[in-house]
């Protein structure tokens, strides 16, 4: 068929696809609509920006986490959760562990006490008026840590968590949400692209419908003209025949009327009068079945 109407499209198995125009081969660059060109430019810029980010990420990822990365000797960084252990509040445990093989468990303690005794005995650590400050100083430190250590740690931990969320956590979550929203929006835009062939198809169908309408118009006008011409011939014949009939009837009647002689006319009239008189007599009789007007 040369044109596809709406009903014919619907009856096809693949719906609206026009077989005359290959819409799938159309690209957006073939369309010279300026609005479409502008949207294409903006989308390409956006895609360029996104591709820059991904390119940079890929480059850095390939450098830091590529094939040459030695994860056995240089594993991923882990920060400790709690501080390393200390003995007597100030001496780290690793000093005691390092000396364990040489001096055993009590070695460092003996070193400390022996050292203090040595300093006092040789009077390197002179016992003067300020010496006594050492004992309450140590006591106060111990009591402070005992009473307020846990509370202070909890407060500091809470503060550090808040600072982390303010600087890293919340912005990161927000950025992740924005990125996901951007992905969704991009998917929507890409999905909208699938409607472009349909849009072009609709334009073609519009033109097809107009062509069909003009064709039908022309068909109807042709029919009307032909019908008019044929009707004329029919009416002409009818007029001629009716005229002939009328003329013949008039002619016959006038000839008959002219053939009536006066003697015949008079005889007919007398006949009529006598009939009428008889009828009147019968009409006046009671119980008669004569027609009463």
């Amino acid at each position: 068929q040369s044109t596809w109407g709406a009903s014919q499209c619907a009856s096809q198995p693949d719906g609206c696809v026009s077989k005359k125009y290959d819409v799938t081969k159309l690209t957006r660059r073939n369309n010279e609509d300026e609005a479409v060109r502008m949207t294409i430019a903006s989308y390409e810029k956006f895609a360029e920006g996104v591709n820059d980010v991904t390119k940079r990420w890929d480059e850095k990822h390939e450098i830091y986490f590529g094939n040459e990365r030695d994860l056995v000797n240089f594993p991923h960084m882990k920060t400790a959760e709690y501080m390393p252990k200390v003995r007597l509040g100030v001496f780290p445990d690793e000093w005691f562990q390092a000396l364990y093989n040489k001096t055993g468990v009590t070695g460092p303690y003996l070193f400390l006490s022996g050292g203090i005794v040595f300093l006092l005995q040789k009077e390197y650590w002179v016992i003067d008026h300020e010496f006594i400050e050492v004992i309450p100083f140590i006591g106060v430190c111990v009591l402070l840590v005992k009473w307020f250590g846990a509370k202070a740690q909890a407060m500091y931990i809470k503060g550090s968590q808040e600072r982390y969320m303010k600087v890293v956590g919340t912005p990161l979550a927000k950025y992740a949400e924005l990125a996901n929203q951007a992905i969704k929006d991009a998917d929507d835009i890409l999905h909208r692209d699938t409607a472009y062939p349909m849009y072009i198809q609709a334009k073609y169908e519009n033109v097809d419908i107009q062509l069909e309408a003009s064709y039908r118009d022309r068909l109807a006008s042709m029919h009307r003209d032909v019908r008019r011409r044929l009707d004329y011939h029919v009416e002409r014949q009818n007029a001629k025949r009716s005229f002939e009939h009328q003329h013949m009837v008039d002619w016959i009647a006038s000839s008959v009327r002219s053939s009536i002689t006066p003697a015949q006319e008079k005889q007919a009239l007398e006949q009529c009068f006598s009939t009428l008189k008889n009828l009147a007599v019968e009409y006046k009789k009671e119980g008669s079945t004569a027609a009463r007007v």
Partner: protein, 119 residues
């Protein structure tokens, strides 16, 4: 950072004062308290008798001294500090500060020993 560059420029090593043997491709992101290249000799493996001669023969240029100081600081940060902190660094600072200041004023304390009458 050396190694942290596109492939065409990898032959030009960028100046970084922390470690000459650091390569981003092998070692990953730079972590200051880690030793790249030769491992550091810990103080527990040194002998006290060799310490003075070792110090005399060491590199005393400003760049190397700066590197040693920064590495020591970062080593303390990386091994001794944590996410859930406590009073221990403060106590360590107080303890070490008191000892060092005592040693700095030792001259005045020592004089007290030689005095005839103690107050």
């Amino acid at each position: 950072m050396s190694g942290d560059a596109p492939k065409s420029y990898n032959k030009f090593r960028v100046y970084q004062p922390y470690d000459a043997a650091y390569n981003a491709r092998i070692h990953g992101p730079f972590i200051p308290w880690r030793e790249y290249g030769q491992p550091r000799m810990s103080i527990w493996d040194m002998k006290i008798g060799n310490m003075w001669s070792h110090f005399l023969s060491s590199d005393k240029s400003p760049a190397h001294m700066r590197m040693v100081a920064s590495k020591a600081y970062w080593r303390y940060c990386g091994s001794k500090l944590s996410r859930k902190t406590s009073f221990k660094p403060f106590m360590a600072m107080v303890f070490s500060a008191s000892i060092l200041l005592f040693l700095a004023r030792y001259k005045d304390y020592a004089a007290e020993r030689r005095v005839k009458y103690h107050w």
